[in-house]
Subunit: 125 residues, 2 copies
DNA sequence: TATAGTAACTTGCAATTTGCAAGTTACTAA
DNA sequence: TTAGTAACTTGCAAATTGCAAGTTACTATA
C-alpha cells in the first residue's frame, strides 16, 4: 500500500500502525535480520565471520541487513584498520537489549523443534 | 539455495540449520505472521475480524498465513456454522505459548518506538 | 424468481524482494 | 607483476508480496 495513504490513517507517522509489534517487525520481520543479531551476540564481528553460517546467507543480503541495522542504531560499524579500511560490527545498547527477544524465541524453539541446540559463543579477547 | 544441498549439511533435516532461532524464523520471519498471532491473542477469531487491522493486510496474505499456521499446528480452524460452512480460528497450546515472544517484542518496542501502544483485547463471550 | 448481501477465500498480474554467482575496489605480500 | 584478502556491489532470474477483482455457497428480500 502507498505510504501516503497509510500516513493518513496513522497520524503519529509509524510505517504501518502504532503497535509496537508492528514497528519491531518492520525492521526484524524477515528470515535473516535476527540471525545477524544472533551472530553478533555470539561474538562475531567482521563481515567474513558473519558470512559464514550454516544458513549460508547471501552476501548481498548480509550487506543489506547490516546497513539497515546500522541505520536503525542497532549496531555500529567501526574501522579496525585503515589501509585498506576494514570494519567490525558491534551491537549498541539498543541492540544488546534485543537479547530477551532471542531468548524467548529460543525457549519456544527448543520446545517445539526437538533436536535444535543453541550455538556456542565464540571466544574473543 | 537448493533443499538437497542444505540437507547434506544438515543431517537432522531442519530447513536451514539446527538453531532454534532459525527454525522459528522459518515460520515467523516475515512482516505479517506474528501480527496474525497478535490478533488471535487479542480475541479475534473470524476471517473478517482478522482482515480488519490498521496494517491493512492483503486478503491473500492473510489466507496464506492462516494456512501455514494451521499446517504448523499453531492454530485450529473450526466451523462455527454449516450452511454455508464458516470458520473460526483459535490458537492451540503451541500457539498460546508464543505469547512470551510477543511480550519480549512489545517490551523492546515500547522502549524504542515511543508513542506506540499495545492494542486492546476485544470483548468475547 | 431474481437480486442483493455475506463470509471466506482465490486468481491474475505487477511490483518488490530474495538469492546466485560473478565482479569490483583498495589495499598488501611475494 | 601476480596473487591474495576483506568488504562489499552488480546483473539478473526466481520467488514473494500485495492490489483489486472475482468466485463459491449459501440466505434474505422484494
Amino acid at each position: 500500500m502507498k505510504k501516503e495513504q497509510k500516513a493518513a490513517d496513522n497520524p503519529a507517522a509509524f510505517e504501518r500502525s502504532s503497535c509496537p509489534i508492528t514497528n519491531v517487525l518492520d525492521l526484524f520481520g524477515d528470515k535473516w535480520t535476527l540471525l545477524v543479531i544472533r551472530d553478533l551476540v555470539l561474538g562475531k564481528r567482521r563481515y567474513q565471520e558473519l558470512i559464514v553460517s550454516p544458513e549460508k546467507i547471501a552476501s548481498n543480503i548480509l550487506a543489506d541487513r547490516l546497513k539497515k541495522l546500522e541505520d536503525a542504531g542497532i549496531i555500529t560499524r567501526q574501522a579496525y584498520q585503515q589501509k585498506p579500511a576494514r570494519y567490525e560490527y558491534r551491537l549498541t545498547q539498543k541492540g544488546e537489549e534485543l537479547q530477551p527477544i532471542l531468548e524467548a524465541i529460543i525457549t519456544w524453539g527448543l520446545k517445539y523443534y526437538p533436536g535444535t541446540t543453541i550455538f556456542p559463543r565464540i571466544e574473543r579477547y
